[in-house]
């Protein structure tokens, strides 16, 4: 089934659920399905139980951090210049707000098919970072969602045991975020990577 077919089936089965097909520019170019977070759990159950898909195996759960981006694209517009309609190029800038994302790679062991790629996005990167946990559907997401909570700071609602996985309790940062800056560490005055060491290397 193509992602577009799956999208229309999900939207038909779950009222109010909106699914976006996210394109993929890579060579195999498999598009993924971005499900809105309110209906993500229902959509996951639907995909798992769908007789044509039977996605019983959630292989990989990855967190992604998208920073605020500014995209400038050149658009051709028709303008009236001195009373004559002319074609002109205009640069439009659009801001894409940053967000965090959990990407699920789903396979079917029963049908030996896959993957179907599911994306669930948070509203922003700072305070509204809750998305539903899919651990009730696939237990394999349990540790991986904990890891994303730890390293990216996505809060998975409904997760049975949402604690930090890799860093210690009491650590307050989310180090895999793109804007994470580690605390400065004293490498000594003669660290070859430090100021003195670079000077020595230069001359």
């Amino acid at each position: 089934m193509t992602p577009e077919q799956i999208r229309s089936e999900i939207e038909a089965a779950i009222p109010g659920c909106s699914v976006e097909v996210a394109p993929n520019g890579a060579v195999p170019g498999q598009a993924s399905l971005a499900v809105d977070r309110l209906h993500a759990l229902e959509a996951a159950w639907f995909l798992r139980r769908h007789p044509g898909l039977l996605l019983d195996f959630c292989s990989n759960v990855a967190g992604v951090d998208w920073l605020d981006r500014e995209i400038s694209e050149k658009v051709k517009v028709r303008k009236l210049v001195d009373g004559v309609e002319q074609e002109a190029e205009e640069t439009r800038k659009s801001k894409i707000p940053g967000r965090l994302e959990a990407v699920y790679h789903l396979f079917s062991i029963e049908k030996k098919q896959g993957p179907v790629i599911l994306r669930v996005r948070t509203e922003n990167r700072s305070d509204r970072v809750e998305i539903p946990s899919l651990t009730p559907v696939w237990r394999s997401a349990e540790f991986q969602e904990r890891e994303i909570f730890d390293l990216y700071g996505i809060v998975f609602t409904g997760h049975p045991d949402l604690r930090r996985l890799l860093m210690w309790e009491g650590f307050t940062d989310h180090p895999m975020r793109k804007d994470y800056v580690p605390p400065p560490e004293d490498d000594g005055p003669q660290d070859p990577r430090g100021a003195v060491g670079k000077e020595a290397a230069a001359g």
């Binding site: 890579a26 060579v27 394999s140 996985l165």
Partner: protein
């Protein structure tokens, strides 16, 4: 390390009729690890015990979290290749392959036939030494101190000699490249590998006969650490552990990546999913690997070893994302890459089979004794470099 003694919480309406009641009114919390000889590295299990019986087990990770993913996102695509060696540091060749395969999927490179055969040979040699080592460690955990591990490492050294011959390093081979392999096989290497393959069945017979029929091994492994197939699938367990539970899912057959469709080999399956099945699974898989090795060495074609379109330095894949996976000795090893068109991956994620196979550790260990926990953990086959990354 005993960390605390707790009064056992009494459930409402409970009359105290627990197993081994009387003394069983206290729960003992034991932190096994991160320094513990049976945890295969720096893994920790917080175990709650009622007497000898495990009532709760929570794994604690991160003691070897070396930030592989973040470092890779700050490095070029090729620059991450040596880091993949250090993921599952027993199986550097398989890790190389998984990463190279993923980047090839992202960029559309196609390795030449000879390179594909060489990759199969390297991956199967890796599987043999990984499984042999694992069984050695597992039997050591059961108390067969020394001998099985000595046997395993004796053979492992022979395989490492082959790796060193071709790549220059014993453990961290850094051998695969996007679209092929780094160097061609040196003269005499194929004969050396064939000599190993010819002797391998004798080693496997010896290794299997060593303790397979031992009463102690059977008593310690049969019916211990049961993993039902349904739970295994739901928890994302892969590799020999999944197949020991009777689920026929081997990526070499399902995805047919590389040239695996050209070899005839069988996929062993377990029945019960206990420790004994997982132990036997590795023994049988080693035999199949030796059979694949013999076929691959026999049919090894000549020709180039690297796709001429392959660009190693300054590789800039088109923006997009890809998920590639192979059947590593421990299970499905996957790489998830997001490219933004620059020289570094925007997102680099490793799907670690060892970590996800540990999801079911508590389910397998509940109601067993501490000594069984050690054996069950040994049968999962973890390497902490991959669990924590």
């Amino acid at each position: 390390m005993i960390s605390s003694l707790k009064e056992m919480p009494r459930e409402a309406g409970e009359t105290g009729g627990m197993a081994g009641s009387g003394a069983g009114s206290q729960l003992l919390e034991v932190a096994m690890g991160p320094h513990h000889p049976s945890t295969h590295g720096v893994f920790r299990m917080d175990v709650q015990l009622e007497g000898e019986r495990v009532v709760r087990l929570k794994p604690v990770f991160g003691y070897l979290h070396r930030n592989h993913e973040q470092i890779a996102e700050k490095t070029s695509y090729l620059g991450s290749m040596p880091y993949t060696d250090r993921l599952d540091y027993l199986c550097s060749m398989s890790n190389n392959w998984a990463y190279a395969l993923t980047v090839e999927k992202l960029t559309g490179l196609q390795p030449p036939e000879r390179a594909e055969y060489i990759r199969v040979i390297m991956a199967e040699l890796t599987r043999v030494q990984n499984h042999a080592g694992l069984i050695g460690f597992l039997l050591q955990d059961m108390g067969a101190s020394g001998t099985p591990l000595m046997y395993a490492f004796r053979e492992r050294e022979k395989i490492l000699d082959l790796f060193e011959w071709v790549s220059g390093a014993r453990m961290m081979c850094n051998y695969m490249r996007f679209g092929g392999v780094r160097v061609d096989l040196p003269e005499g290497w194929v004969e050396g590998a064939l000599a190993f393959v010819e002797r391998a069945p004798r080693f496997l017979d010896e290794y299997e006969g060593l303790l397979r029929n031992s009463e102690i091994v059977m008593a310690r492994t049969q019916g211990v650490g049961l993993l039902p197939a349904e739970l295994a699938v739901n928890a994302g367990v892969t590799g020999p552990m999944l197949r020991a539970s009777g689920v026929n899912y081997d990526l070499r057959k399902v995805d047919r990546y590389g040239v695996y469709d050209r070899f005839s080999f069988r996929v062993p399956l377990g029945e019960k999913g206990d420790v004994y099945d997982r132990y036997m699974m590795r023994l049988l898989e080693m035999r199949e690997s030796v059979s694949i090795l013999a076929q691959a060495l026999r049919d090894l074609p000549g020709g180039p070893i690297l796709d001429p379109k392959s660009k190693l330095r300054g590789l800039r894949p088109k923006a997009g994302e890809v998920y590639g996976r192979i059947e590593a000795p421990k299970g499905e090893l996957g790489f998830y890459l997001i490219s933004d068109g620059s020289t570094n991956p925007y997102r680099y994620r490793v799907r670690p089979p060892s970590l996800i196979n540990l999801t079911v550790l508590e389910d397998m260990c509940l109601d067993r004794s501490v000594a069984d926990v050690v054996v069950i953990l040994g049968s999962v086959d973890i390497v902490l470099g991959e669990v924590d990354r």
